[in-house]
C-alpha cells in the first residue's frame, strides 16, 4: 500500500523552464528556488514516509506577489501547494512533482497588537509561539498550543485547525481566530471575518479554518489573545485499571470541572517515557492521568482537591499534586517525551490521531491490543483524555520488508475503529494524504460530493493542493517511500504530543 498522488501533467513538467522564469518575473532574487539541492528541504513535511520534490519553490514576500503567482498559475493550469513550516503530520504540505510549492515563511511579521480589544494581527509565517512571546510582557498569550509551537506557523495552524493540550478549556484554532486575509486562486484578495466576534453574512472564515490549503492562501491572521492565568497546577494520578482512569475523566467533567489539560498514557507509554526521562512516573499502573488546572491560586487549590477526591473514589493507586512550577513541568516531561521515547524503543513509528467518545476508551484500547497481536506490531497510547483525542503510536521497523505496509494497514484499522464507535478519523492533525483514502469510512459519496462542491466554489479547476483530503483520484502515480529511519526525523527538537 503506497501513496497514490495525481499523475504529474507531462505538459507542465515540459514547461518547467518557462514556469520558473514566470515565477522569477513575479518574485525576484532568492525567492524562487529551482535547483535540486534547494528543493530537497521541501520534499516532505512532518509525515516523512512520503517524499516528493516540487517543480519549483516560490517564497513570496508581499500579498501582491502571492496574488500574481496564483493568478499566473490559474491562467496556466499549474497546481499550487501552500506551505508554512512543513510540520504537518498528515502530509498536507507534501509537494507535487508538477506543482509550485508556495512557501509562506517570509511573511514573518507581527503587524499589530491591540490589548484593549485583545487581538493580534500577524502574518501567516509567524510561528505559533512567537505570538505568545510578543504579548507575554503585557501578561497575555495565544491559547492554542500545538506541541510543535516553536516551529509551526499560524498560517499552518489556520489551515489545519490545530489544537494543543490546552484546547479542552480554551478551544482550538477556529475558536481563537477572528479574521483572515485570503488570496484566492483567481488572485483576488478577500477579508473574511474581521476584528469583531462575528462575520457579516456566511461564516466563510469558519470554512477556511481547517480547509488544509485547498481553498486559498492565507496572508494575514487576526487572533484573540488572552490574559495569562495567575497560576497553573497539575495532578499526576496512577490507576491500576484503565476503566478507573476512564471513569475518573468522565466524573471530573460531570462535576463541572473543565481542566486546562487532561492527558492519559497507557502502560506501554508510561514505561517508554519513564525509561527515557526518569521523572518518577509510577510503573505499577495501567494508566496515568495528568490533570492540569489553571486560574487564581484559590481556584486551583479548590479544584486540585476535588479532582483528587474523584480519583480516589475511582481506585487511583497514586496521587501527586504539584507544589510549584518545577514539579508541574516535571509531571509533563514524560508525557511530552512520549514521541522520542517511542523512537528509542522502536526504529520507526506512525502517530495516529483519531477521536472517540470517551466512554468507549476501554473498549477501543482492548481492541487495539487485539489488532496489535494480529499485526505483530506494538502500539503505545497517549491520549488527550478530556476530549477523546487518541494518539496511538504504531511501532515498526521500515528495514524489515513489509513492515511499513503492515503499519499503514494497522493504523488504518485503528482509525476505522474510531469511526465505528462513533468517533472521527482525525482530531487535530488533518486528513492530508494520510487519511484521504479513509474518508469514505466516515462520509458517504453524497457527503463528500457536497464538500467537493464547496472546494469548486473557491477553486473550480482544483489547482490548490490537489490530491489532499478528498479521495477523488482516477489516475495516479505511486510515490516512492524513502523512509527516514532510526528516529532521524525532521524537527528532532520538538516535543511530540
Amino acid at each position: 500500500m503506497s501513496l497514490c498522488m495525481p499523475e504529474p501533467d507531462a505538459g507542465v513538467l515540459a514547461r518547467r523552464a518557462e514556469i520558473v522564469a514566470a515565477m522569477r518575473a513575479i518574485v525576484p532574487g532568492e525567492g524562487v528556488i529551482d535547483h535540486a539541492d534547494g528543493l530537497r528541504p521541501y520534499e516532505t513535511d512532518g509525515l516523512t514516509a512520503y517524499r516528493q520534490p516540487p517543480l519549483v519553490v516560490v517564497l513570496p514576500e508581499t500579498v501582491a506577489q502571492v496574488a500574481a503567482v496564483l493568478r499566473w498559475c490559474r491562467d496556466h493550469a499549474v497546481k499550487v501547494v501552500p506551505r508554512g513550516a512543513g510540520t504537518s503530520l498528515s502530509g498536507g504540505a507534501l509537494p507535487l512533482a508538477d506543482g509550485v510549492l508556495l512557501g509562506m515563511a517570509k511573511f514573518n511579521r507581527i503587524l499589530h497588537v491591540d490589548y484593549a480589544d485583545r487581538i493580534a494581527i500577524v502574518q501567516p509565517g509567524v510561528t505559533n509561539l512567537a505570538i505568545s512571546r510578543a504579548v507575554e510582557d503585557e501578561g497575555f498569550y495565544y491559547a492554542p498550543d500545538p506541541s510543535s509551537q516553536i516551529a509551526c506557523t499560524i498560517g499552518g495552524n489556520v489551515a489545519e485547525n490545530s489544537g494543543g493540550v490546552h484546547c479542552l478549556k480554551y478551544g482550538v484554532t477556529t475558536n481563537n481566530v477572528l479574521g483572515v486575509e485570503l488570496v484566492t486562486i483567481d488572485g483576488e484578495v478577500l477579508r473574511l471575518g474581521g476584528q469583531g466576534l462575528e462575520s457579516a453574512g456566511l461564516d466563510l472564515l469558519g470554512l477556511v479554518v481547517g480547509s488544509e490549503g485547498l481553498l486559498g492562501v492565507v496572508t494575514e491572521v487576526t487572533v484573540r489573545i488572552l490574559p495569562r492565568p495567575e497560576t497553573a497546577r497539575a495532578l499526576l494520578i496512577g490507576f491500576p485499571e484503565l476503566e478507573g482512569a476512564g471513569r475518573c475523566v468522565g466524573e471530573v467533567i460531570a462535576a463541572g470541572i473543565i481542566p486546562a489539560g487532561m492527558e492519559m498514557m497507557d502502560r506501554a507509554a508510561i514505561h517508554a517515557a519513564e525509561a527515557f526521562v526518569n521523572v518518577g512516573y509510577p510503573l505499577d499502573v495501567e494508566a496515568l492521568l495528568i490533570v492540569e488546572l489553571d486560574g487564581p491560586a484559590a481556584e486551583c487549590a479548590h479544584l486540585i482537591e476535588a479532582v483528587a477526591r474523584i480519583a480516589e473514589a475511582n481506585g487511583a493507586s497514586s496521587i501527586r499534586a504539584s507544589s510549584d512550577d518545577t514539579e508541574r513541568i516535571a509531571f509533563w516531561a514524560g508525557r511530552k517525551a512520549a514521541f522520542p521515547a517511542a523512537g528509542r524503543i522502536s526504529p520507526d513509528y506512525f502517530c495516529m490521531d483519531g477521536t472517540i467518545p470517551r466512554r468507549r476508551l476501554p473498549d477501543v484500547l482492548a481492541r487495539m491490543k487485539l489488532l496489535s497481536e494480529q499485526y505483530g506490531l506494538g502500539v503505545i497510547n497517549v491520549f488527550h483524555a478530556g476530549d477523546g483525542n487518541l494518539h496511538p503510536m504504531v511501532l515498526y521497523d521500515a528495514n524489515v520488508p513489509g513492515q511499513l505496509e503492515l503499519a499503514e494497514a494497522f493504523g488504518a484499522d485503528i482509525l476505522r475503529l474510531c469511526v465505528e464507535v462513533g468517533g472521527v478519523l482525525t482530531g487535530e492533525h488533518g486528513v492530508g494524504v494520510e487519511k484521504r483514502d479513509l474518508m469514505p469510512a466516515m462520509f458517504s459519496a453524497i457527503d463528500l460530493a457536497q464538500q467537493v462542491e464547496l472546494k469548486h466554489a473557491f477553486d473550480p479547476a482544483a489547482l490548490l493542493n490537489p490530491g489532499k483530503v478528498f479521495p477523488t483520484l482516477h489516475r495516479c502515480a505511486e510515490l516512492g517511500q524513502m523512509h527516514v529511519h532510526g528516529g532521524k526525523l525532521p524537527f528532532p527538537d520538538l516535543p511530540r504530543l
Partner: protein
C-alpha cells in the same frame, strides 16, 4: 397567501425539496417562526415548518455532547441540559424558537464574549441540501478536523444553504455560582474602557455589558465558577482599580442578563440594528449616530442600536469601526428597501453566491428574504 408544509421524516423532506428545485420554485425554512420579521417580506413563498423533526437523539452528559432533531423547541433543549447541570454555552435567547432556528439565525447571548458563539458549539449536523439530498458533516465528538468545517457555514445561514434536520452540539457545565458586579453612571467610552481593562486581567469574566437599567447607565461584569474561585477573582478585580464594583443579588443579576440577552430595554423600538465591531470602536459609533437608543453587550463588541438614522449612514459608521450592521427589526417598507445583511464587497458577494450554489444549485432556498 403562504402555503405551509410540515414534513416529519427526512425522506419526505428530500422529495419535497427535490420537487420544488425541479420546478424552479422556492421554499422558506421555518423553525418557530420567531424571526419571520427579519429580512425582506416574502409574501408568496411555500413555508416548510421544520418542527416535525423533534426530539432528542442522544445525550450523554459526561461526553459534553448532545444530538437533537433540529425542530426541537429551544426551551425543551435548555430544560434537558439544565437537569444535568449543563447549558448551551452560546447562551441563546428565544421564546417559541427551535434549536434549528437558533442555529440558523446564529444568535448568541452575553456569554458569547468568552464562551463562543453558535458557530463554536455546533459539532456536526444532518441536513437536506437544495438538491434534495441528505448529507452529514462534522461529527459527534468535541474534537474533529475531518473534512471541511461545514458547521460554521450552517450557523447563521438563515435557511439559505440547507434544511437542518439533526444537530450535534457541544454543551458545557453550568457554573456553580454566578456573580454580577455593577459600576454606575459611566458614559459609553468609560464603560468600554472599564470592560476592556477587566477583561485584560486574569479574573476571567464571563460576560460584560453596558445598558440603561432602572433608569441609569450601568456597566455589568459577570463572574462564573466555583465559590472560592469567584471570590478570588472578585478580589483580583478590586486590586485592579475596579474597587467601586458593587455586587448585586442573584435574582437581580439574572434579570439583568436576561434583559441583555433579549435586548429588553429596546423592546418597543420600531427599528433595531445589530452592529458587531471591535469593542473599542463601539463608543465612536454611538457618538456618530446621535439620538439613538442603544445597548452594549460583549464588552462593546455587540451594539444593539435603535435608530431611525439613514440606514446608509448607520452602515457607513459601522464599517468605519471595522464592523457591520444587520437590520433585525423594521416595518415592511423598511425591510423591503434595506437588506437585512450588511452588504459585502463585490468579490465576497460573488464568492458567497458560489458557496450558496454549492449547496443549492437551483436556488430553492433563495426566497429573496436576504
Amino acid at each position: 397567501m403562504s402555503v405551509m408544509l410540515r414534513p416529519t421524516d427526512i425522506g419526505e423532506l428530500c422529495d419535497l425539496v427535490a420537487a420544488f428545485a425541479g420546478k424552479d420554485d422556492r421554499l422558506c425554512l421555518r423553525g418557530g417562526g420567531s424571526k419571520d420579521a427579519i429580512g425582506a417580506p416574502t409574501p408568496d413563498v411555500t413555508v416548510v415548518d421544520m418542527r416535525g423533526f423533534s426530539g432528542v437523539v442522544d445525550y450523554d452528559p459526561p461526553e459534553l455532547v448532545l444530538t437533537v432533531r433540529a425542530g426541537t423547541p429551544l426551551a425543551e433543549v435548555q430544560a434537558l441540559v439544565a437537569a444535568e447541570n449543563q447549558m448551551l454555552a452560546f447562551d441563546p435567547e428565544g421564546l417559541g424558537t427551535t434549536i434549528g432556528g437558533v442555529i440558523a439565525a446564529g444568535m448568541a447571548g452575553p456569554l458569547r464574549l468568552t464562551r463562543g458563539g453558535v458557530r463554536d458549539h455546533l459539532l456536526g449536523f444532518e441536513a437536506v441540501s437544495g438538491r434534495g439530498e441528505r448529507f452529514v458533516a462534522g461529527g459527534k465528538v468535541v474534537k474533529n478536523v475531518t473534512g471541511f468545517d461545514l458547521s460554521k457555514l450552517m450557523a447563521g445561514s438563515w435557511g439559505r444553504l440547507a434544511a437542518l434536520t439533526e444537530v450535534t452540539l457541544k454543551v458545557v457545565p453550568r457554573p456553580q455560582l454566578q456573580q454580577t458586579l455593577l459600576l454606575r453612571g459611566l458614559d459609553p467610552a468609560a464603560a468600554v474602557a472599564v470592560m476592556a481593562s477587566a477583561l485584560g486581567t486574569p479574573a476571567e469574566l464571563s460576560a460584560a455589558a453596558h445598558l440603561a437599567w432602572h433608569g441609569e447607565p450601568v456597566t455589568a461584569l459577570r463572574l462564573d465558577g466555583f465559590a472560592p474561585s469567584v471570590a478570588a477573582r472578585r478580589a483580583m478585580l478590586a486590586r485592579d482599580a475596579l474597587a467601586a464594583l458593587e455586587p448585586i443579588d442573584d435574582d437581580e443579576g439574572d434579570a439583568l442578563w436576561d434583559a441583555v440577552r433579549h435586548v429588553r430595554p429596546l423592546a418597543s423600538a420600531p427599528i433595531l440594528w445589530r452592529i458587531v465591531v471591535a469593542p473599542s470602536k463601539a463608543p465612536g459609533v454611538i457618538i456618530a449616530l446621535p439620538g439613538a437608543a442603544w445597548l452594549l453587550d460583549w464588552a462593546g463588541g455587540l451594539l444593539w442600536l435603535a435608530s431611525d438614522s439613514d440606514p446608509a449612514d448607520i452602515r457607513r459608521v459601522a464599517e468605519a469601526g471595522g464592523g457591520h450592521a444587520m437590520l433585525v427589526r423594521g416595518d415592511t417598507a423598511l425591510r423591503g428597501a434595506v437588506s437585512a445583511f450588511h452588504p459585502r464587497s463585490p468579490a465576497l458577494t460573488a464568492l458567497e453566491t458560489r458557496v450558496r450554489r454549492a449547496f443549492d444549485p437551483a436556488g430553492v432556498f433563495e426566497t429573496g428574504r436576504f
